[in-house]
């Protein structure tokens, strides 16, 4: 049956390291303030998931004296799919490292490679499943009591990274990995690509799984998590502020770029995080047309409620 959905089918995880030797600050922030659920840990690493996710993890943080974005994980259909993609990536001139099952806890055999001018990606076909935290039999789809009173986001939504040649990174993602573009920003004069939101999924709060912003190659710009709607995010902002979290000056805002209602904030190490709702329904289809923004309109697109006071540091990478 060749009507199978092949290739990348979901954004699986973001993996990065922080200068937090025992990951104590990390635990306090991500579990107690943000409301992620710990699924496994070692001396130097912690894996966490959102309460609505059944997988082993979607956020993985490791302790390191040289902190940074390690990689972004995407899941593909099966090992044959993985093999085909490996060939395709190698044929494009990119080195691919094949790794065995278990190199990362919970992840099966995988391939890792750097996208041109961008971060490392890891593709795999199997990941441990823990099942839904709320159960599989006539479940109550309600935030578990232990994390109520935190934003407790539902899903990892997208990872934004920087590239010093956005066009090259986007070309690779679209031509080789089969991503589609939902929105992009180009220069006013020459139409040169500055930024793009890329997807493979058709989810409700959709439009992006990986996004490219201009900056040094392969740095992390931000990590976004899904919330049901805007009112949730307004309340979450209160919880975060009350917990002493550093919230971006523009506060909760509509972001036309991505059609979301979002709140940006930082963890204790300056990593920029986002809660988002809204988004777009996208079709992973060759004829899907992206929205195009010109650079002069970008501040309006990023901070609709207050573009004049927008901090230009918004574009600075955070890790």
């Amino acid at each position: 049956m060749s009507l199978k959905h092949l290739g990348i089918n979901r954004l699986a995880y973001v993996r990065y390291s922080l200068d937090d030797p025992k990951l104590e600050k990390t635990r306090v922030f991500y579990k107690e303030k943000l409301g992620l659920m710990e699924t496994s840990s070692s001396q130097t690493s912690i894996q966490m998931r959102c309460w609505h996710e059944p997988y082993a993890f979607t956020t993985m943080i490791e302790a390191s004296k040289s902190p940074g974005l390690t990689e972004i994980g995407f899941q593909v259909r099966d090992s044959k799919d993985l093999e085909n993609l490996k060939e395709k990536i190698e044929a494009s001139g990119i080195d691919v490292l094949s790794e065995l099952d278990g190199v990362i806890k919970g992840v099966g055999e995988s391939i890792a490679f750097n996208i041109p001018h961008g971060p490392r990606l890891r593709l795999f076909s199997a990941m441990n499943q823990l099942g839904y935290s709320t159960g599989h039999t006539s479940p109550d789809w309600v935030t578990p009591k232990s994390i109520r009173g935190t934003p407790a986001p539902m899903f990892l939504n997208h990872v934004a990274v920087t590239s010093d040649n956005p066009q090259a990174s986007v070309d690779f993602l679209t031509n080789i990995l089969g991503f589609y573009i939902s929105e992009k920003i180009v220069t006013d004069d020459s139409g040169k690509l500055m930024s793009a939101l890329l997807f493979r999924m058709s989810k409700n709060v959709g439009g992006q799984e990986i996004s490219i912003f201009p900056g040094p190659a392969g740095k992390l710009h931000h990590i976004a998590y899904t919330k049901d709607d805007a009112s949730d995010i307004l309340l979450d902002g209160q919880y975060l502020r009350n917990d002493g979290v550093n919230i971006e000056i523009m506060g909760p805002t509509r972001q036309l770029y991505g059609n979301t209602f979002s709140l940006h904030f930082r963890d204790d190490f300056g990593v920029r995080l986002e809660l988002c709702s809204g988004g777009r329904m996208t079709d992973p289809h060759p004829e899907f047309k992206p929205v195009v923004w010109t650079e002069s309109q970008a501040t309006r697109a990023l901070s609709f409620y207050d573009d004049e006071n927008m901090d230009t540091n918004f574009l600075a990478y955070s890790l």
Partner: protein
């Protein structure tokens, strides 16, 4: 390569003018095309030619359902595989249905007709595709809705049709309700990453339970419920509620032909490929309670038997 997602639903309505008013003013869709006996609509924030087609008829219900595929060669494959499975197929010429290219219509065991096609004319978002405005100029007293999200249809043997969709078209089943003997009462099937594109539940073959539109905020569900009641549009018991199944906030109401509509909001995501996540199952007792209506924990039988 594969089916991407639900694209449109084609409905029968008994009075085209009354129905047009409903889908334009109550639901808030844009009219994108008109023929002698049909009207085509699209939501503000979906870019393809249409998500609803109304067909003037002597009856109500669902006429056919459109799903997109990501490669033109998929159409030949779908035709071949469906016929091999024992199902009837019909070729649809380009333009036979306005705004879309050629397709293959397949009649499912449930009696429903699915049209698979590759190309649709892109009309773009109402806000524009280039440096878009933030909100559409025309807002029917509420925020525009996002997209046609799913359908729930009825048939005598849900499991049979779902089996075809899984085996041949790579649909995934996210949640399921079963009778005490283990037989499927309702199955929620998806090809994308939402909880369901099309669900099948027990009832007459070819029946329509409802079509659902996705709104961005639960506040929109509240506001839309207010508007429905103030305009005396028939709604289901309890008005605004939440489904235990999938945990989405919702309100049901009827169009002037008696086709049930839904506004819902809820970000529930699934992997998009089969067998990644263990099935969530519901038993009858829970389905009739918190599964149907979470706050009220009680479902009126006519919620199920009212089918167009």
């Amino acid at each position: 390569m594969a089916v991407t997602r639900l694209n449109y639903v084609s409905l029968y309505v008994t009075d085209l003018d009354l129905a047009k008013k409903h889908y334009e003013e109550i639901v808030g869709l844009r009219v994108t095309d008109v023929t002698k006996n049909q009207i085509y609509f699209q939501s503000s924030d979906s870019q393809d030619h249409h998500c609803v087609i109304l067909n003037s008829s002597d009856r109500s219900g669902v006429e056919h359902i459109g799903f997109k595929v990501s490669d033109p060669s998929d159409l030949e494959e779908i035709k071949w595989e469906s016929e091999k499975y024992g199902l009837e197929t019909v070729t649809v010429d380009s333009g036979e249905i306005l705004g879309i290219g050629e397709g293959v219509k397949v009649t499912l065991p449930s009696g429903h007709c699915l049209n698979f096609f590759y190309h649709t004319d892109v009309i773009g978002y109402a806000n524009g595709m280039f440096n878009p405005k933030s909100i559409a100029d025309e807002v029917m007293g509420v925020n525009p809705l996002s997209h046609l999200d799913h359908l729930l249809v009825t048939c005598e043997d849900p499991a049979k049709t779902i089996k075809f969709l899984q085996e041949v078209l790579d649909f995934n089943v996210s949640e399921m309700a079963s009778a005490p003997d283990g037989s499927m009462i309702a199955g929620f099937a998806t090809v994308g990453n939402t909880m369901h594109n099309i669900a099948f539940a027990g009832g007459p073959n070819g029946g329509l339970h409802h079509i659902a539109f996705y709104v961005y905020d639960r506040a929109d569900v509240i506001r839309r419920t207010d508007l429905l009641k103030s305009k005396n549009i028939p709604t289901m018991e309890f008005g605004l509620t939440r489904h235990g199944v999938a945990g989405v906030t919702t309100v049901y109401f009827f169009d002037p032909a008696g086709n049930r509509n839904e506004f819902q909001c809820g970000a529930y995501e699934t992997p998009g490929v089969p067998d990644r996540v263990e099935l969530v199952t519901w038993d009858v007792a829970n389905l009739m309670g918190k599964g149907g209506f979470y706050y009220e924990a009680a479902v009126e039988p006519k919620f199920f038997i009212t089918v167009s």
